[in-house]
Symmetry: C2
Subunit: 142 residues, 2 copies
């Protein structure tokens, strides 16, 4: 799998949260987990991390919950980096300790372009765009 399970949940959660934010609402952990079909407590941990990394914001107490400051300025790549780190965009496909043209593996010149493309595509895809897709109602989060 390309992304960790945590990262998959993270992306789905962020899209859902953003879809609430654009309606001026906040989302609780329980509501989010229900909406994306993920385990409640585990989802809480992931959201905690995203909040620490400033991908999301949260507030406690009644009417509290998670929200996103500006969906148009957060990109898919930001979520991925917050949870799985940057390695998926830089690490050697077959696990050499470094990936470089100086010491390439036999797949380097095939893989680097694909990986770079992935980084570019993930860097272009804003949460706002994903919310628009989702709100179309032809798209799903679970």
């Amino acid at each position: 799998m390309i992304l960790s399970k945590s990262c998959e949940y993270a992306i789905r959660a962020v899209v859902y949260i953003a879809s609430k934010t654009v309606k001026e609402e906040r989302a609780s952990i329980i509501e989010i987990a229900e909406a994306i079909g993920s385990p409640v407590a585990f989802t809480g941990k992931i959201l905690q991390t995203l909040t620490r990394k400033k991908v999301l914001a949260s507030s406690k107490g009644p009417n509290g919950g998670f929200y996103i400051i500006n969906p148009a300025s957060v990109y898919l790549v930001d979520i991925v980096r917050a949870i799985d780190g940057n390695e998926i965009f830089t690490a050697c496909v077959i696990g050499l300790t470094t990936c470089s043209a100086e010491k390439p593996c036999p797949m380097h010149y095939q893989m680097k372009p694909i990986r770079d493309q992935l980084r570019i595509d993930f860097g272009k895809r804003s949460v706002y765009e994903m919310v628009q897709a989702f709100e179309n109602n032809n798209y799903f989060l679970k």
Copy 2:
């Protein structure tokens, strides 16, 4: 990471084994692990799986070891499927239970082409080609 550690070792091992096969030699587990920088016993297990799945062949006893019947007819995709399965080419990026145009996630139309391209590229890349690259001596397996 895109591939499991097992799968990374598997690919490196197969390329090394094939580089021996083209010289009419067989490779022992110990030699392979040394050549690709992997843990010996764990590598043994992976090679066992690859042999069961007919990606490799092996023989016991003195002058025994692993070899590959026809490097030109085994493709990267075959190694990946043998170890990690086909899911990396078919599963939803954000973990929906099924990936389809009928029930697409907000990344579906961005990801499907990339994933398909990966399958095509992996399907085109033969072990023989990877060995040629490796034998060039400008390419590395550890």
